[in-house]
């Protein structure tokens, strides 16, 4: 049996979390491929409906970073 | 003399009146009523019978009133606006009058929120002021509330109203009493008085409005049964004003009595409660315009004979 690998959707704020993810990329740091990043102008833009739609489409967890 | 009830005769003759109160049972047992009424008989001039007080279903005020009439005790039935519209109230009052009931206390009624049927729909078609005016017009103008003439005997009640001198806004309370008098109140029974100085101030203002010649004011009194009850009334009951002094006296009453000796503690509390009640009666009696006392000892009717005796209110005058 394969180990459960959750699919995570991360909403990342342009000014901090996304910048951090960008920096991680420049530094060639690895992060797991089952985290998908959605770039948002501000974490305040993230609405309940975005989270619900993510779950509807099959993700196992939502990560809001800002 | 408007009606000729015993209570009205006592008051118009200038005697200091004493009325009692009886809470009907939460069942159909007539024996409870007979037992309680027997205790009050001869000790008070009339007995109020509550109308589903605190919005808890109880035997109807009018039916208990009829039982009291049959026992030779004068009832004062209570009528609230919470459960009946003007049609039902007038209908019930026609019946009450037909049975010979002569005193009626008109109330808005406690909200059902704290009763045993908080899910009930309330009525409040009239408020207490509208109720007073309606029963006065039924008596004096022989008219139903709609204006239609009452052909044949109209219901004649000695009309009472309630007043709470301790509710807010204090400065408006005497004016609200004036409105009740204008609406038809012949007598008033007040909320339980513990804060005598505040009540004196209220009575002064009522006098300043020229109301003392127009309405008989009976000060409400009640014996406190335990220190816990004193504390509860002081802190938890909206519209009650119990000075700290009485809470302390009730607490002190059981000092030195071991907690296990429940009978002795109960006796000490009851003695102090009755003593405070008698003191308050004597103090309110000195206030100009106080025409009597309304003693509320619901579920402790046994205290009433002792209170009226110690307050020097016996024997009750025969009028």
């Amino acid at each position: 049996m394969t180990e459960f690998e959750p699919q995570i959707l991360a909403f990342a704020c342009h000014y901090c979390a996304y910048a951090a993810a960008d920096l991680a990329g420049s530094m060639r740091l690895q992060y797991p491929p089952n985290v998908k990043v959605v770039h948002v102008p501000c974490s305040g833009r993230v609405d309940i409906i975005h989270i619900l739609r993510a779950f509807e489409r099959g993700v196992d967890g939502v990560f809001v970073a800002g | 003399m408007k009606v000729g009830s015993n209570l009205e005769k006592i008051l118009t003759a200038g005697y200091f009146a004493a009325t009692g109160e009886l809470g009907p049972p939460k069942n159909a047992d007539p024996e409870v009523i007979r037992r309680k009424a027997e205790i009050l008989k001869g000790h008070v001039d009339a007995v109020n019978i509550t109308d589903n007080q605190t919005a808890v279903v109880r035997m109807s005020s009018i039916s208990v009133g009829i039982m009291l009439l049959n026992m030779g005790i004068e009832p004062t039935i209570q009528m609230t606006c919470r459960d009946r519209n003007r049609i039902a109230i007038q209908s019930d009052l026609l019946g009450a009058a037909a049975f010979g009931i002569k005193n009626l206390l008109c109330l808005s009624g406690d909200h059902q929120r704290f009763g045993n049927h908080p899910m009930a729909k309330n009525v409040f078609d009239l408020d207490s002021m509208g109720l007073l005016r309606m029963v006065r017009d039924m008596r004096d103008a022989k008219k139903f509330q709609c204006g239609e003439e009452i052909k044949g005997p109209a219901p004649c009640f000695f009309i009472g109203a309630a007043a709470n001198p301790f509710a807010d806004p204090f400065e408006f309370r005497p004016y609200r009493l004036a409105k009740k008098v204008a609406a038809g109140a012949d007598f008033v029974q007040t909320q339980i008085v513990f804060n005598v100085p505040k009540f004196r101030e209220y009575m002064q203002r009522v006098g300043d409005l020229g109301l003392l010649d127009k309405v008989y004011i009976l000060a409400g009194v009640s014996p406190i049964r335990t220190a816990g009850a004193a504390k509860y009334m002081a802190t938890q009951v909206p519209g009650m004003d119990v000075p700290e002094e009485y809470v302390r006296r009730m607490e002190d009453a059981v000092k030195g009595i071991p907690k296990e000796d429940k009978a002795a503690r109960k006796a000490a509390w009851e003695e102090e409660g009755i003593r405070i009640c008698v003191e308050i009666i004597q103090r309110v009696r000195e206030i100009p315009g106080v025409a009597g006392v309304h003693i509320m000892a619901i579920e402790w009717e046994e205290a009433v004979p002792e209170i009226v005796k110690r307050a020097g209110l016996l024997p009750r005058p025969q009028v």
Partner: protein
């Protein structure tokens, strides 16, 4: 405005149990501004229902629409076509919208997704309070602009009753005593003498007690 609250997801699921294709119809007026049944709430409820029914192994088809004002036929016409594709409509409008839909589209059942709560006002973000009972004979002129019918727990016309203490109503320390508010306001207006008159018993015929109400404006009607 009309203030409403969404029914629980459980109750909605039970109502929808016999149906497979559901159209949720929001309303863009009162229930949008009280965050109960606007476009956004429709989307959230639709998503929640798709997931909930999916998890239970019987995913329903949930469609979404929002009209500008569900209590008027003209606005509802816009979704007439969508009704052909579904088994039932779940309305997120007030009770008026639900009834308009049922009347306008009699072949389709429209169910209520909201509880219509009261006529009120948002007093702060996220808080709505009742202000009017539509009694049909406004008394605000005599009470300093504060309604005793809607805001006094006993709808007294001659308050405050003996249960008023510290500005609060006896039924709940969180409920302000409307009559204390009326008193304070009349005092501030220098009009306390108006409270000295006994207010007459109200004629409730103009209220719901007189039967369902109707207004006919002949000057506005197209056919007579």
């Amino acid at each position: 405005m009309i203030v409403a609250e969404q029914k629980s997801l459980d109750e909605i699921k039970t109502m929808l149990a016999p149906y497979q294709k559901v159209l949720i119809v929001g309303c863009g007026t009162c229930v949008t501004v009280c965050f109960a049944g606007g476009e956004k709430e429709v989307a959230i409820l639709a998503s929640a229902l798709r997931m909930a029914t999916g998890l239970e192994g019987n995913p329903k088809q949930i469609m979404e629409a929002t009209v500008q004002r569900q209590c008027e036929y003209e606005y509802n016409e816009a979704i007439a076509d969508k009704l052909k594709e579904v088994d039932v409509v779940l309305s997120l409008a007030c009770g008026i919208g639900v009834q308009t839909m049922n009347e306008q589209f009699p072949e389709m059942l429209t169910l209520p997704g909201l509880n219509t709560t009261f006529l009120g006002q948002p007093t702060e973000q996220g808080v709505w309070v009742e202000r009017c009972q539509a009694c049909g004979n406004c008394v605000l002129a005599t009470t300093g602009g504060i309604c005793p019918i809607a805001r006094c727990s006993k709808s007294l016309l001659n308050g405050p009753c003996g249960g008023s203490q510290g500005g609060k109503c006896e039924i709940d320390p969180d409920v302000p005593c409307a009559w204390q508010q009326i008193y304070d306001r009349m005092k501030a207006l220098g009009r306390l003498e108006a409270l000295l008159e006994v207010a007459e018993a109200k004629d409730w015929r103009t209220s719901r007690d007189g039967g369902p109400r109707k207004i006919v404006r002949e000057d506005l009607r197209l056919e007579k």
